[in-house]
C-alpha cells in the first residue's frame, strides 16, 4: 500500500528533492523557508550533505560549486535572502551548471514575517532564470523534481518560488519511489567554460534568451500549467491563489456560471497555452499575490497577437495591490467577476466587544530585554540614536522599551549608525545586532567603522542561536546543521581581529553591572563594543518563577518599564507574575524599588 504522510510544504520540498537525487544542500534560515534544510538534516539520507551557511551568498556559491561538479544541489532562503545571493546568482546563470541546481526563494505575501513584499518571479525575469511556482505542498513535492531535471537539461540554475501558504501549508501526500539516481560526474575543466568573461557573457546571453523563448513554448505542455472550463470569461491564477480560485470556481460552476480557468505554474508563462486561454475571451480576471506578473504577461501577449481582451487584476484596482490573498477575498472577487449574487456574510445581532491587539513581543525572560533596558537607563537624558537590525531584537522597538529607531536589512545597523554619527556627532550612536546576523553580514560593517574611524557603540546581543527562525545553529554555536561539532567562532576574538580595541562582556540580567558598562562605553570614543551574553529562553534552563510579595507598592514600574509578558499590573493594584510564562530571569526583581519581587516557591515570611 502507498505510504501517505502528513507533510508541511517545506517538508514536502525537502523529501521531493531527496527523491530527485539531491546530493548537496545549503541555505540561511528565513521565514517561511527554514524547515526545508531542517527536514533534510532530520532525514539524514546517506550521501546527502546539508549545511547552514553563514549567509545566502555563501550558500549559493557553495551550491554552485557542487553543481559544477555534477551534483544535484539545492539552496534555500527567504525572498530577501535572494537579494543577498543575487550577485553570484546573476553571474551563475551566464556561466551555467552541470548538475541540476535549484534555488528555493520563499516569498512572504502579507508580509507576515519579512521586510518587503518582493516577488521572486520578477527576480527570475530580471536574472533571466526560469521560475517554478507551486500551488500546494503536494505539487511542490512533485515539481521540485521537475526543477532539477530542467536545470540539468538547460545547464543553468532554476528558481523555485513557494509562498508562505505553500511552505507552511500542509497536506496528506503520497510518498513515491525515488527517481533513478546517478553519481555526480565530477568537475571537468572544460577549457575555461566556468570562468566568466565579457565575451562568454555576450555569447551566453544570446543562448539564454533563445532558451527562455523555447521554454515558453515547451511549457505549454507542462502538466502543472493547465486549462479547463469554457465561456467568454476567464480566470488566470498562480501559486496558492490558484487553490483559492479553483475552489471558488467549483462553487460558481455549481450555481450555473460559466468560465475558463487557467493555471500558471511557471515563468516564462506557457505562451501557446495562454493564447489558447485568451482565444475568444472577452474578459480575464487575474488572481496572484505580490506583483502582477501573470497579468502583465497576458497584456504583453494581447499586444503581441493583437487580441482585444479586457484584463482585470492589480492594474485596474480590481484586486488588491499589496498584502496576502485569502480564500474569502478571491471567492468574493470571482463572484463579482462572474456576476453571481454575493452570498450574505454572517450578520451578528449586536456589536462585538473590542478585540485586543497582539503585536509580537520579546518573550518573558528574553535576555534582549535586559540589554535594551540597560542601554536605555544609561542614556536617560542624553541624545542617542539606536540603530537596530534583523532578528528577535527588532521587537525591542515596541513600547515600553522603544529602543529600536532604525531597521533596514540584515547587517545594516552599524553602518547606518556610522553614517548617522557623521551627520549628527552630538548624539551617541548605538547599533544592536544579534549573533547570527553578526556572522551573516555584520562583520564588514565593523571593519568599515573601525577603518573609517567611526564614533559608535556596537551592542552585540549574543543569545547563542538564530532565535527568530526557530533556533538554528551558526558559527558561534560550535554546531552544524547535521549536528556535528564545529570550530566555535569567537565573537570577542573576531571583534579584536577587526580592530575593535574596547570590548566588554556584559551579563544582560545584571541590571547594575550592565548599566555601568554602558555608561563607561558612553565616556569613550571610536568603535566600542559591548558583548551582551545571555542564552535564548529556548536554550536556557527555566528557573523557579518569581512571586510578588504583599510588600508591592503598586507603583507598576516592573510592568511599565520592562514590558515583560509575564507581568501584569493595573493602576492602583499590585503587580502579579504569570507563573506559566515567567522564567525567573530576575530582571524585574532587580528593578523593583520595594524589593517585593522574589524567587517563588520559598517561604518569604
Amino acid at each position: 500500500m502507498a505510504e501517505i504522510r502528513l507533510l508541511m510544504g517545506n517538508e514536502a520540498i525537502a523529501l521531493g528533492a531527496l527523491r530527485a537525487g539531491l546530493r548537496f544542500a545549503s541555505g540561511y534560515p528565513g521565514t517561511p523557508s527554514s524547515e526545508i534544510l531542517e527536514t533534510l538534516a532530520k532525514e539524514k539520507r546517506e550521501g546527502v550533505y546539508a549545511e547552514w551557511s553563514v549567509n545566502e551568498k555563501t550558500a549559493l556559491e557553495a551550491a554552485a560549486g557542487a553543481a559544477m561538479a555534477g551534483a544535484r544541489a539545492l539552496v534555500t532562503m527567504k525572498q530577501v535572502g535572494l537579494n543577498v545571493a543575487s550577485d553570484p546568482l546573476m553571474s551563475l546563470n551566464y556561466v551555467g551548471v552541470k548538475g541540476g541546481m535549484v534555488v528555493v526563494a520563499a516569498d512572504d505575501p502579507g508580509p507576515l514575517s519579512s521586510q518587503t513584499e518582493q516577488d521572486t518571479r520578477h527576480f527570475g525575469q530580471f536574472a533571466k532564470i526560469p521560475v517554478f511556482d507551486p500551488s500546494s505542498p503536494e505539487e511542490a513535492y512533485l515539481m521540485i523534481a521537475d526543477a532539477f531535471e530542467l536545470s540539468e537539461k538547460i545547464h543553468r540554475p532554476v528558481l523555485f518560488r513557494p509562498t508562505t501558504r505553500v511552505c507552511h501549508g500542509y497536506a496528506s501526500i503520497e510518498i513515491l519511489a525515488d527517481l533513478p539516481q546517478k553519481a555526480p560526474e565530477g568537475f571537468t575543466k572544460d577549457g575555461g567554460a566556468w570562468v566568466i568573461f565579457p565575451r562568454l557573457a555576450y555569447q551566453n546571453h544570446l543562448l539564454i534568451e533563445d532558451g527562455l523563448e523555447a521554454l515558453a513554448d515547451e511549457w505549454s505542455n507542462y502538466r502543472f500549467n493547465a486549462l479547463s472550463g469554457k465561456g467568454k470569461k476567464g480566470i488566470a491564477a498562480g501559486g496558492v491563489s490558484f487553490a483559492y480560485a479553483a475552489e471558488a470556481v467549483e462553487g460558481a460552476l455549481q450555481s450555473g456560471a460559466e468560465c475558463r480557468l487557467f493555471k500558471v505554474a511557471t515563468y516564462p508563462i506557457p505562451e501557446r497555452k495562454a493564447l489558447e486561454f485568451l482565444d475568444g475571451l472577452e474578459e480575464v480576471l487575474v488572481a496572484e499575490e505580490l506583483d502582477p506578473v501573470i497579468e502583465k504577461e497576458l497584456f504583453r501577449l494581447c499586444g503581441k497577437h493583437g487580441l482585444r481582451v479586457k484584463i482585470r487584476g492589480k492594474g485596474d484596482g480590481t484586486m488588491p495591490r499589496a498584502g496576502e490573498n485569502s480564500a474569502a477575498g478571491i471567492k468574493k472577487a470571482i463572484a463579482a467577476f462572474l456576476g453571481l449574487k454575493e452570498e450574505p456574510t454572517r450578520v451578528f445581532c449586536e456589536e462585538a466587544p473590542s478585540l485586543p491587539q497582539r503585536p509580537p513581543v520579546l518573550c518573558a525572560g528574553c535576555p534582549h530585554r535586559g540589554s535594551f533596558f540597560a542601554v536605555k537607563e544609561a542614556c536617560k537624558g542624553k541624545k542617542a540614536v539606536f540603530s537596530g537590525d534583523i532578528g528577535c531584537y527588532t521587537l525591542g522597538n515596541a513600547a515600553p522599551l522603544n529602543m529600536v529607531d532604525t531597521c533596514l536589512c540584515m547587517g545594516a545597523g552599524l553602518a547606518q549608525a556610522q553614517g548617522l554619527s557623521k551627520i549628527e556627532p552630538d548624539a551617541a550612536h548605538f547599533a544592536f545586532i544579534g549573533d547570527s546576523t553578526f556572522f551573516h553580514t555584520g562583520m564588514p560593517g565593523v571593519l568599515n567603522a573601525v577603518y573609517n574611524g567611526a564614533d559608535v557603540i556596537l551592542c552585540i546581543l549574543d543569545n547563542s542561536t538564530t532565535a527568530m527562525t526557530g533556533g538554528q545553529p551558526h558559527p558561534g554555536t560550535g554546531k552544524t546543521l547535521m549536528g556535528n561539532t564545529a570550530v566555535k567562532a569567537d565573537i570577542y576574538g573576531v571583534l579584536k581581529a577587526l580592530g575593535v580595541e574596547r570590548i566588554q562582556r556584559v551579563n544582560p540580567f545584571d541590571l547594575g553591572g550592565a548599566r555601568a558598562a554602558v555608561e563607561e562605553a558612553l565616556q569613550g570614543s571610536g568603535v566600542r563594543a559591548l558583548l551582551f551574553e545571555g542564552p535564548c529562553i529556548a536554550l536556557a534552563t527555566k528557573k523557579q518563577p518569581l512571586e510578588v510579595l504583599q510588600a508591592c507598592i503598586a507603583c507598576g514600574r516592573c510592568a511599565r518599564e520592562l514590558g515583560c509578558p509575564a507581568i501584569s499590573w493595573e493602576k492602583g493594584h499590585k503587580a502579579s507574575v504569570d507563573g506559566l510564562l515567567c522564567t525567573g530571569c530576575g530582571l524585574c526583581a532587580g528593578l523593583c524599588p520595594a524589593g517585593a519581587i522574589v524567587e517563588g516557591g520559598k517561604n518569604h515570611a
Partner: protein, 192 residues
C-alpha cells in the same frame, strides 16, 4: 469535508494541536489539508491553524463563514475567529484570558458573554482547571480531548492517542494522555 479552525495566542500550542488532529485524521484514512502560523507572529501574537479533512478542499485556508468547528484556546481569539464559523457551526472555547502586554487589555466577561449569545451551542472549558489539574503546557491537548468527547471530529480518542504517540517525545506522552482524558471527562460532565 470538515472545516476546522484552531485559534490561540503564540505559545499555546495551536500548531502542535493542528498537527495532532491531522495525524489522527490520517489514521482514519481521511485526506488532510491546512495551514499554520509560523514566524514572527508566534511571539505572543494571534495564531490560527486551518484544517480541512476529507475530499474536495483545494485551498489551505477556510473561506469566511465556512468553518464547521472552532477550537479557541483563548476567549478573545475565539471572538476574532467567529466570522469564520457557520451559523450552525460548533465552538469549544477555553475561558482563561491571556491579556496582551504593553497594550490595553480587553473585557473578558463581555467577550465570553457575547460568545455565548452569538453561538448558543458553544462549549466552554475552564482553562484554570485544566492547568491546575494537568499542568501549564497541557491546555491544547485537553482541548482536543474535550472536542473529541463532544463528537466534534470524524475520529475519537483512540486516533488522537495514536497521534500523540507518533508525534510527541516519549517523556511527554504520559502527561499529555492525562490531559487528553481530563479534557474528555470534563466535556462529558457538561463543563460550564
Amino acid at each position: 469535508m470538515l472545516n476546522l479552525l484552531i485559534a490561540g495566542v503564540g505559545g499555546q500550542g495551536t500548531v502542535l494541536s493542528a498537527r495532532l488532529l491531522g495525524l489522527a485524521a490520517l489514521e482514519k484514512g481521511l485526506k488532510v489539508r491546512g495551514s499554520e502560523t509560523i514566524g514572527m507572529a508566534q511571539r505572543g501574537g494571534s495564531v490560527v491553524s486551518h484544517l480541512r479533512l476529507g475530499e474536495g478542499a483545494h485551498s489551505p485556508l477556510i473561506p469566511l463563514g465556512e468553518a464547521d468547528l472552532i477550537l479557541a484556546f483563548e476567549p478573545a481569539e475565539a471572538l476574532r475567529a467567529l466570522p469564520f464559523l457557520r451559523a450552525d457551526g460548533r465552538m469549544l472555547v477555553a475561558d482563561r484570558a491571556l491579556q496582551p502586554s504593553g497594550t490595553p487589555g480587553y473585557d473578558v466577561a463581555a467577550t465570553l458573554s457575547y460568545l455565548k449569545r452569538s453561538q448558543p451551542g458553544g462549549f466552554f472549558l475552564s482553562g484554570e482547571e485544566v492547568i491546575a489539574r494537568c499542568g501549564g503546557r497541557s491546555l491544547n491537548v485537553a482541548m482536543l480531548g474535550a472536542a473529541a468527547a463532544l463528537g466534534f471530529f470524524p475520529f475519537g480518542l483512540q486516533e488522537l492517542e495514536a497521534a500523540l504517540h507518533k508525534r510527541l517525545a516519549p517523556r511527554t506522552i504520559e502527561s499529555n494522555l492525562h490531559a487528553l482524558h481530563f479534557g474528555a471527562e470534563t466535556a462529558k460532565k457538561g463543563g460550564n
